[in-house]
């Protein structure tokens, strides 16, 4: 009997209505949407390719982190051995680690024990203490001790560098005042920054691309910089170039008086004397105390303000600075002073970030894509609807209703899960319009065959649904193979295509099978037709 029970009808309609309900928030203004209940707040997010904006993928410079670690390690080794009064003849990098040759082999055990104290246990948030160390300390009987950072240690370091960087990048991007930037970790060592509506990401890239390590150090006046360059700088000092003019050289002590971490505020402004742009800053109490002591001891000597290993300026200390605040003057423009203030407020990145991918779409192109995509979707629907009606008559109408609800349900589900609609996603919807009716076609053709082989209407319709069902499951699972793999491997726009495709396959079962069956049952109850309408 071609029967579709009332409960089932109501249930089907309920599911469809609920699905379509989720489309509603997309059609309302934000104000009107705010008045809806909380489960109706989700909308489809437009991808950056439709909305316009910038997608920037950053990578933490792992090599820089490694080098920095080795450099710090050398200092630690030097201090540790000096404290333990153990003599050594050579200390340098060896491959991925640091090697030290002891003067006296008898010290080997003592030195190894001492240097093992430099190891730090690695803890992970999941397992607590992992029992691993960030450093391998090995020795050979001839008095050679090697310290190698372990892979796990390096990984943990990269992980925490990414976490820290995300925070700092967020603070810096927020300063740009753009709407809803999204900053998230991607993979082990990457950060994805997406800023809708941003047309020229140059300033953004400048802001993110600067490490902004600020240090205050003394200028080494024990020898002229030319002499240091010609011979070799004292071991406690290094030669740095000027930020404005790379030909300007400075001999600067490696010891840091105060660093950027101790800043609590930085603001752009103008010098009262020269009216040039400057950046004024304030130290926290710790920084203020250290800066006060240092300036008291060194009145009359120059000190250097160093940003990312370049000297911004090297003023002379005229009097002790005890107030905990000061200003940096260099050859700033208004914009560069402003940028530096932002960078100092946000803090330094633990390691340099490199842009490995950038995709920017202007708002004009985004709107054009939306318009073209909408037009293509509408025309595709019109073509298919006309063709289906011309082929199947009343049954074509039923298929068309199912098709329109199908597309509606895709949008509803996308809103529900807050999926991103991209341009390939729109292409996916258009393609779905073409393929979704396949289930109807399979059923109708089967019904036709069964009817022509001599069955009654009711029996032909029933047999048609039953026999076509296996094929429908087959044909959808074959398409699902492609969709799922794309979803797993794709990123950005291509993933948007996969999402639409997967949702399209899921909803076909509801619309093309269940809804179609319901409508055909209703049609038959009304008409009691003796022949198929096609």
């Amino acid at each position: 009997m071609l029967h579709y029970s009332r409960t089932k009808t109501i249930l089907t309609l309920l599911v469809v209505a609920l699905g379509l309900l989720f489309v509603v928030p997309n059609l309302l203004s934000p104000q009107a949407r705010a008045r809806l209940p909380s489960f109706l707040q989700n909308t489809i997010v437009l991808g950056l390719d439709l909305q316009g904006g910038s997608h920037i993928l950053l990578e933490v410079d792992a090599q820089a982190l490694r080098n920095e670690k080795l450099e710090a390690l050398r200092d630690q080794v030097r201090t540790a051995l000096r404290d333990a009064r153990i003599g050594y003849t050579g200390l340098g990098n060896a491959g991925q680690g640091v090697q030290v040759r002891l003067r006296d082999v008898a010290d080997l055990q003592a030195a190894t024990t001492k240097l093992r104290e430099l190891r730090n246990p690695i803890s992970s948030s999941l397992l607590g203490n992992t029992g691993q160390f960030d450093l391998d300390v090995t020795n050979t009987p001839d008095g050679l001790v090697t310290l190698t950072p372990t892979e796990a240690g390096v990984d943990a370091r990269i992980r925490s560098a990414v976490d820290q960087s995300i925070e700092i990048v967020r603070r810096r991007v927020d300063e740009l005042g753009t709407t809803e930037p999204s900053i998230q970790r991607q993979g082990a060592d990457r950060i994805l920054v997406q800023v809708p509506g941003l047309q020229d990401p140059q300033r953004l890239k400048e802001l993110i691309g600067t490490t902004a390590k600020l240090t205050f150090r003394m200028v080494d006046v024990t020898m002229p910089v030319q002499q240091a360059e010609a011979t070799r700088p004292p071991p406690e000092s290094e030669i740095l170039v000027g930020a404005e003019n790379p030909n300007e050289k400075y001999l600067v002590e490696k010891r840091i008086l105060v660093a950027g971490e101790d800043l609590v505020d930085a603001q752009p402004g103008f010098s009262q004397q020269t009216n040039e742009p400057i950046v004024s800053f304030r130290f926290n109490s710790n920084g203020a105390r250290r800066f006060a002591t240092a300036t008291q001891q060194n009145v009359g000597k120059p000190f250097a303000i160093v940003l990312d290993n370049k000297v911004i300026s090297a003023p002379r200390i005229n009097e002790p600075i005890t107030g905990g605040s000061g200003q940096i003057s260099g050859s700033f423009t208004v914009e560069s002073a402003n940028n530096l203030a932002i960078l100092l407020r946000a803090g330094a990145l633990p390691a340099p970030l490199t842009v490995v991918e950038e995709r920017t779409v202007g708002p004009g192109l985004g709107q054009d894509s939306i318009d073209a995509g909408t037009k293509a979707t509408i025309y595709a629907a019109i073509f298919v609807v006309i063709f289906m009606f011309a082929t199947y008559g009343t049954f074509g109408l039923i298929a068309n209703i199912a098709l329109i609800i199908h597309v509606g349900l895709i949008f509803g589900l996308m809103s529900l899960i807050g999926a991103t609609l991209t341009l390939p996603g729109i292409a996916g919807i258009v393609l779905t319009i073409g393929t979704a009716v396949d289930s109807n076609v399979l059923i109708y053709e089967r019904i036709r065959e069964e009817f022509h082989s001599g069955r009654s209407m009711v029996s032909a319709i029933q047999a048609g649904f039953e026999r076509a069902f296996a094929t429908i499951v087959d044909s959808n699972s074959t398409m699902a193979i492609a969709a799922v793999i794309l979803f797993l491997l794709g990123s950005g726009p291509v993933k948007g295509f996969a999402v639409v495709f997967v949702l399209g396959i899921l909803t076909t079962v509801i619309t093309a099978v269940t809804m179609t069956r319901m409508m055909i049952a209703l049609w038959y109850r009304w008409t009691r037709a003796k022949a198929l309408p096609f």
Partner: protein, 313 residues
Amino acid sequence: MRLLRLWPENSHFPFMKWRRVTFPLSAIMSLVILGLFFLHGLNFGIDFRGGTLLELQAKSGTADAAQVREQSNALGFGEVEVQEFGGQGSLSLRFPIQEGGEAAQSAVVQKARDTFGQAYDFRRVETVGPRVSGELVQAGTLGVVLSLVAVLCYLWFRFERNLATGALIGTLHDVLLTVGFFVVTQLEFNMTSIAAILTIVGYSLNETVVVFDRTRELLRRYKNMPDEELLDLSINTTMSRTAITAMTTFLALLALVLFGGEAIEGFAIVMLVGIVICTYSAIFVSSPSLIYLGLRQSETQRAAAAKTVAAKP
């Protein structure tokens, strides 16, 4: 009201006879494509090759391609491909990947903005560094390989070995010809092209499975029908559905080609061609291949197995 019929009812078209034309045709096309593939290769876009892609729109409405070409080549970033595309005043510029790792790529965009920012709007800027492009090549290759493995597993579960082999031949044929379309037209091959190929894998399999389902059904019903006749019957009885579904998909994709805008045009055209290839191969490649693979192999084996069981007392 007279309704549209794409394919007449109760047709008896001798599809299998056509294999004497279509097999050599498909074989020659496949060989030519393989030859061209090794000769010209694919025109990889920046997703896979790295580099910088710019889309400029002249503020005045008319773009001077020759001048832009000259100016961009003078920037010192190597040979720049400048093309007019889409509507009036639109240009696309493709800069090759720069030596010097990730950081070196950024300079291209900056220089280009300085040079062309006065007269042109930058509608699209895409820069892909060497590392990301390397990863995308991996992801793309893995995608195609994985999908073929998944297809293999699916067929293994779903069909007997001969039918599975026939379906696999059809799918490989379609992937090869679609890639061939990229080789011949030198359309840009990007991550979306991979999406197109995977979708075609799905569609190709779908078409074959619908026919093979019928073949299997008929095999059970007509135990003594000759192979060729049975395959012809499978296709004739499913042909109406094949034609209608191909038509609706074709119409939808046609709308995408005509109105979808140039950003998605490449994808749409490939899909459109792919649908035609898939429909052709399901009828003229996968099905006739069963004549050679042995249609009833599994049936006779089963019968033989049944006999041995029966022979045991």
